[in-house]
Symmetry: C2
Subunit: 118 residues, 2 copies
């Protein structure tokens, strides 16, 4: 069913965020947002989980990106992250079927890798 998802305000549906393309600053498509990881208590989104890698959509992995790294680009209709593919390939990631616990240690590891504030 086609949905109008309400883009003219600052409020957006999680269904709309999921599936949105993620680019690097050079305009290369890195992948798309597969999932959002949320702090249960505060309701704050902590990570956008990028689907990246693989071949023709097969064998992709999941790369948690600290939410603050994503900037929405209205021209591209996608998010831009300050990353190139080489940096991303070495980043913490996991198989879709093997989601780790997002413990503080894991979160710190992800943030440290990207040089993002914890």
């Amino acid at each position: 069913m086609k949905k109008s998802l309400g883009t003219s305000s600052t409020i957006i549906s999680s269904e709309r965020v999921e599936g949105t393309t993620v680019y690097n600053p050079a305009g290369d498509k890195l992948g798309s947002v597969d999932d959002l990881m949320i702090d249960k208590i505060s309701g704050q989104i902590r990570y956008a989980v990028l689907e990246f890698g693989g071949f023709l959509g097969m064998g992709t992995d999941r790369y948690p990106l600290p939410w603050n790294m994503l900037k929405y680009d209205t021209q591209k209709e996608g998010y831009v992250v300050p990353l190139d593919k080489d940096k991303l390939e070495q980043a913490p990631h996991y198989a879709e079927s093997d989601v780790p616990d997002y413990t503080p240690d894991y979160g710190r590891r992800v943030h440290n890798y990207y040089g993002a504030d914890w």
Copy 2:
């Protein structure tokens, strides 16, 4: 594909929140979370959108609930909101295919209805 969604930390997947049952304090099932509405800038969840009403899953509508109204109950494995069905039936809602803009005016109307802080 079966997913482990990481429940032992305070971080939870949006895919896990969506579909979670919502109860009233008496333990009656009101419906389930269909979607989350997010502040694009801050990444803060503002509303859980409850699927409610209808008959045998047909003709349900969507009821935005201010996120702070939902408390997770580990025993019930669902959210509890301080609402009865009568209160909910009169609440702001819309058809799945007719999502309104979540403007400040709309948000204020929803919060006012539930007596929630704006």
